[in-house]
């Protein structure tokens, strides 16, 4: 032991500690002798002194030790610290304050372990590691020296985390939710008293902002278990304040009364944040409307008056001058000016906005072909109350960008490069094309970046703009022609040299390397590199390495190794150095799920909820799985709010709890809607037969009913009432109905998704009544019940197994067929039997507006007396649609083909297929040459369509790409279509009729006199062509189609409900249809 005195006492303490001396040795130092290196002599001297002074030393050290036997002495220079005991064996390590489960790897992962010598660095690192876990609010290291060695205790104060946060005393759900979010207490994050105090203040502020100035907020916490503190805010809102006295200062251009009126803040108005925000917005709109673009309006004071529970508001406003925007050199419509000059939108006049307006005006000119347009701006103040913004426009000569050509591009095709350019040559929709210097520069820059991202580091892209000879047009305006040529020198393409991953654990190497798509020798691609990096990162994150980092390092291989003697060809001299790529991985800590703590389940069964939960104890903590679980829980439609949070999110702990906080939805759900469709061929309702009219004593001439219907709109309203969460499960019952001119419906449905916990199986039972007239011929009513099991396998395939039972009756008073058929066809008929449907849907990007993929459906329905059916027939309906996109502008060729066949069997009495069960075609989603369901055979007396047992329809559409148009941007596109097909009495008539363009034996259709019933053959293929407009909306394209029937059928009308004499009817040539969504 070395003992030193005087100013080096601090160092002597350090030395004493390093030798593991106790109080005994330090007190002995006073009698020791300074001796730098002869420790043996020093020890002898100490031994002698110790024996002589043993009792004094031991008594003096024992007394204070006995007093402090149970106390922990704070570390100081006079008491041992970790260096004092360095090197001594550690017998035991304990943890107090935070309990670690037996399977928690954190204690075992600490650098300092029991059974090894005490290493101060390792001990300190262990302290840091424990604190970094986030489980401790405070931590200290205690130790005692026992006979078997050092006993260390990591003693800490455990950290609590926020559990549930609720608000009590607020009836408005929206306000309650607002307050919870205003508290900024996120579940799973550390809990602390300062946070609680801040939250109280924030809630108070939020309540005052919402007009509750007399509110009181208190908070209580409770133990949520598992280290969680649940927080409940008790709110007494008190009455909501109203607007009090309003004052106005500044040159506002209005008085207080006018301000109140314009801002809609009256004496009884609630004084909340929304009211005040809307008030300011209205005032700004007022100023904007009156061209006071520089007006400022602000709410400078809000003073609550407790006696009257009102808030006095103090506004300050400066209306500023009236600003007019004028143009010189060209007239521009006021609306166009407002759109192009952003001072209106921003309600401010400054240089930046004025210059932006100048740029917008110039760009607008350039779009019209004035590529050399110049616009300048200045402001003039004729007097204090007016300001004029003057845009001076020099359009220059009009040009047309006739073409853009490329040379030197080998890696990228011309179409690919053209498709990426903003500059566009002239076309049908852009007469002048689209060109400006700035656009061209942007395009060249992005083209260069594209090449570089694919390894062409030395690429040069050089545009040349040629101004061709000016052509003199018919009017006075002259138009020049521009041509752009882009010369590309691609240069050599860089390739990968070595591609490897470093930093990963050996057991992960194989899996991680298998993710790489970038391979040695391949051409460089920045896209592929980025994708590889994301793939590696995603791989680690799925396995609980949420702190994983992947750094991408690229180095060029040194080409200096190539000297003259090794160069064998010119190519080698010019070779681009290979690029070595290294993905440097820092895995970080792997984190697992400890417990899944669920809160908020009251009526929903736990098993139902857990089926959607993709997080389980022991799983790697994958944040993506949390997101997926949240989505799945929302998909159950049982919860209003689903929050998944990680407890202790920033702590570096190997196991963490996952909090699942649910807010169950109301179990009753109301859904209502309104809509309409407009088209030609609208079935006329309440169109009784002539016989019925005569019997009723009504002149049939007063009724106008046509076999082809009439032009009009069919409106519809609907209401559905749903009871969710039946029995705590994701089952529901819905009572729904709709009412419209074409259909009236009431249905009761029971839905049971995920039958027997199988996510692929769904069960539905429904029963209902429908009264419909979607064919001009009749109105029918159906009483129907069905059960259906849906099975989803693979991503695109769905199978439906169904049993349907319905009673169909045609309303005799509406039946527009031969009188002799009325009694037969208006008889109620029971139809029942199994059905099967297979659907395969690979349409993308969405079924409402697909440009690739296909849709196929196969439906089979079998009605047999064995199932109680009064009509025996089998129906097959097959539809196949395909979508192809092609061309650099992404044209889409869509085709849909439908084939339907019905066949009766059984006894004669069961072979009449009820009218509603027959096959029909025609309408906006079918043969557009006909009104809805009007194609095919007709009743030979009245001329109304009667359907058939065979249907074939083929529709082909060429969907043009959307064009950039003024006002509509790129939301409008055109389609060209052709439909062909028909409905046939017999399915066997389809194929012989395929090549028949003209109606056979059409002369017989014209025989209408001297007969009670006509003769006509409808076995031919009808053709129609047309065009349509599609307007893109967030919910699908709005559709307006115009069709022209090339060969509408003739049909005899012996009995005309318009009281005309027998005549020959002919389906109309023109039809239009307006609806939403593509036609197929």
């Amino acid at each position: 032991m070395n003992c030193r005195s005087g100013p080096e006492r601090a160092n002597s303490a350090a030395i004493a500690r390093s030798e593991g001396n106790s109080l005994l040795h330090q007190s002995t130092c006073r009698f020791g002798q300074r001796h730098g290196t002869n420790s043996a002599i020093v020890r002898q001297a100490v031994r002698r002194t110790v024996l002589a002074l043993l009792c004094v030393a031991c008594l003096s050290s024992a007394a204070p030790a006995q007093q402090k036997a149970t106390a922990v002495a704070p570390a100081s220079t006079a008491i041992p610290d970790i260096w004092t005991w360095a090197g001594l064996p550690v017998a035991e390590i304990k943890f107090t304050g935070v309990d670690f489960a037996a399977d928690n790897s954190l204690p075992a992962s600490l650098p300092q372990t029991a059974g090894t010598p005490l290493d101060p660095d390792k001990v300190r690192e262990s302290m840091q590691r424990l604190y970094a876990s986030g489980l401790y609010r405070n931590l200290q290291l205690e130790g005692s020296r026992e006979t078997d060695g050092i006993h260390l205790t990591f003693a800490g104060v455990p950290r609590y985390f926020i559990g549930t946060v609720g608000v009590l005393g607020v009836r408005d759900d929206h306000l309650a939710s607002l307050l919870v979010h205003a508290s900024r207490l996120d579940p799973g994050t550390p809990f602390s008293e300062p946070k609680m105090n801040d939250a109280l203040q924030l809630l108070q502020q939020s309540l005052e902002q919402n007009g509750y100035h007399r509110s009181q907020v208190t908070a209580s916490t409770s133990d949520g278990g598992n280290g969680l503190r649940n927080i409940l805010f008790h709110v007494v809102t008190g009455p909501q304040a109203r607007i009090g006295i309003v004052t106005l200062t500044g040159d506002a251009g209005m008085d207080v009364t006018q301000l109140r009126h314009r801002a809609r803040i009256y004496a009884k108005t609630r004084a909340n944040h929304d009211t005040l925000t809307r008030a300011l917005t209205r005032l700004r709109s007022y100023y904007l409307k009156h061209d006071h673009l520089e007006a400022t309006i602000s709410l400078e004071s809000q003073n609550f008056r407790a006696s009257s529970n009102t808030v006095d508001l103090g506004f300050h406003s400066e209306q500023g001058p009236e600003v007019r925007v004028l143009t010189e050199g060209m007239r521009i419509h006021a609306g166009e000016l407002r759109r192009l000059v952003p001072i209106y939108e921003e309600s401010a006049v400054d240089d930046d906005l004025l210059n932006e307006g100048a740029r917008n005006l110039r760009d607008s000119m350039q779009r019209d072909g004035f590529f050399d347009a110049k616009v300048s701006v200045k402001t003039v103040r004729p007097d204090a109350t007016h300001e004029n913004v003057l845009y001076t426009i020099d359009r220059g000569e009009k040009h047309r960008l006739s073409s853009i050509s490329f040379t030197g591009n080998h890696f990228f095709k011309t179409d690919a490069l053209l498709g990426r350019m903003h500059v566009k040559p002239s076309n049908v929709f852009l007469r002048a094309g689209l060109y400006s210097q700035q656009l061209l520069s942007t395009d060249i820059s992005s083209m260069t970046q594209l090449y570089r991202a694919n390894g062409f580091t030395e690429v040069q892209v050089t545009p040349t703009v040629e101004d061709l000879e000016t052509r003199v047009r018919m009017n006075t305006a002259q138009e020049g022609s521009l041509r752009i040529h882009i010369a590309i020198v691609e240069g050599p393409q860089q390739h990968y040299g070595l591609v490897n991953v470093t930093g990963e654990a050996p057991e992960h190497a194989a899996a991680v390397n298998a993710l790489l798509k970038s391979k040695a020798g391949q051409p460089f691609s920045l896209t592929t590199l980025s994708a590889d990096r994301e793939a590696i990162l995603a791989w680690y994150q799925r396995r609980g390495y949420s702190q994983a980092r992947v750094e991408l390092l690229q180095t060029e291989e040194n080409p200096a190794a190539l000297d003259d003697s090794t160069i064998t060809s010119t190519k080698q001299v010019k070779a681009t150095p290979l690029l070595d790529v290294r993905f440097n991985v820092e895995e970080g800590q792997q984190v697992f799920v400890d417990k899944v703590l669920i809160n908020g389940l009251h009526t929903t069964r736990r098993s139902t909820m857990q089926r959607a939960l993709g997080v389980h104890p022991g799983d790697p903590l994958d944040l993506n799985a949390l997101t997926t679980s949240q989505r799945n829980l929302y998909d159950l439609t049982l919860f209003n709010e689903v929050n998944l949070a990680v407890e202790n999110p920033t702590g570096d702990a190997p196991k963490k709890n996952v909090l699942v906080q649910l807010n169950e939805a109301k179990r009753w759900d109301f859904l209502y809607g309104i809509g309409f469709e407009a088209q030609t061929g609208q079935p006329s309702h309440n169109c009784p037969s002539a016989a019925s009219l005569i019997q009723l004593g009504i002149n049939p001439a007063t009724f106008v009913c046509s076999p082809d219907g009439s032009t009009g709109a069919s409106e519809r309203v609907s209401l559905d009432i749903t009871r969710n969460s039946l029995g705590g499960r994701d089952q529901s019952v819905t009572l729904g109905g709709s009412y419209g001119s074409l259909e009236k419906r009431a249905t009761l449905s029971y839905m049971y998704p995920h039958v027997l916990n199988n996510p692929r199986l769904d069960f539905t039972f429904s029963a209902g009544y429908t009264d419909a007239q979607d064919v001009t011929t009749f109105a029918s009513s159906q009483l129907q019940g069905s059960i259906r099991v849906g099975e989803k396998f693979f991503k695109a395939d769905t199978l439906l197994y169904e049993f349907t039972y319905r009673r169909v009756q045609v309303n005799a008073n509406t039946l527009q067929v031969s009188a002799a058929l009325i009694p037969l066809l208006s008889q109620p008929v029971r139809v029942g039997g199994p059905g099967f449907t297979w659907i395969r849907d690979t349409r993308s990007p969405s079924p409402l507006n697909a440009d690739r993929g296909s849709y196929t459906s196969f439906q089979e329905f079998f009605a047999d007396s064995a199932f109680g059916s009064e009509a025996d027939f089998n129906r097959v309906d097959l539809t196949n649609s395909t979508y192809y996109h092609f061309g650099r502008l992404n044209f889409v060729l869509a085709r849909s083909t439908r084939l339907g066949l019905e066949r009766t069997f059984g006894s004669q009495s069961l072979q009449t297929i009820p009218l509603p069960e027959r096959l029909y075609a025609g309408g906006g989603n079918s043969l557009r040459g006909f009104p809805i369901n009007a194609a095919g055979p007709r009743d030979l007396q009245t001329g109304y369509p009667v359907g058939g047992t065979g249907v074939f329809v083929n529709s082909t559409e060429l969907r043009l790409p959307p064009q950039a148009l003024p006002l509509f941007s790129q939301n409008v596109s055109l389609v060209l279509f052709h439909d062909m097909g028909n409905v046939f009495i017999n399915g066997s008539d389809i194929w012989p009729s395929m090549l028949r363009f003209r109606q056979p034996n059409v002369s017989t259709c014209s025989v209408v006199t001297g007969v009670t019933e006509g003769t006509c053959n409808f076995n031919f293929f009808s053709h129609d062509i047309g065009t349509g407009i599609r307007y893109k909306t967030p919910i699908g394209p709005l559709r307006l189609d115009f069709s022209y029937n090339l060969n509408p059928p003739l049909y005899p009308v012996i009995l005309d409900y318009n009281n005309n004499p027998p005549n020959v009817g002919r389906a109309g040539h023109f039809n239009f249809f307006f609806s939403i969504g593509q036609s197929f």
Partner: protein
Amino acid sequence: MLLVMLACAAATLHAQQITVQLDRIAALVNGQPILDSDVQQEMRIAAMLPVAGAGQSTATQNQREEAMNRLIDRALITAQEQWQPPPPVTDAELAADIAELQRRIPDCAPAKCATHDGWMAVLKAHGFTESEFNTRWRTRIEMLRFIEQRFRDGAHISNEEVTTYYRNTLMPQYAATHTTPPPLANVANRIEQLLLEQRISTLLEDWLKQLRAGGNVRILAPGEDLP
């Protein structure tokens, strides 16, 4: 005598079973703990170094406060390093820097640190092991590199500032001692370096103030708990 010895031995043994606090959290800087042992280690390093102002306070409490402040500043700076990591320190660079340090440490005078054993003895005298010291010193070099990387590129001294310093500061100093000042051309580089260091020092101080103001720093007294 024997009984007395036995009694004292028993008492001594009992005394040795006292649980002492070996370490604790002394401060938190943006959630990162500074341990009491960190402070003690910093005080020992300060005692070793010949840096002016470090470890010169006579009172232990002042030494402790100074050490704490240095550690807090270091923690704030380290947090910024992740955005602009300095180049790593090689073993050769570390050895060279320690060799330079050995030339300046008073305890190494006149040539005690010329041998490895001598250097080990000095380290041991201050309570360090070689690996512990090397780790601390490497971290220190990296931090200095980071500071230099951050500030040196942005700090420029103009010719006018050099001239002004020569005229307003250096010349009066020479005049006061009645000596002829050296020509400006001879001392311009040194003046520039001096001004640069002052500039960087000012920038660093301002930056540290900003970091402290924007950061969350809390010093814990012994026995004090965190909220």
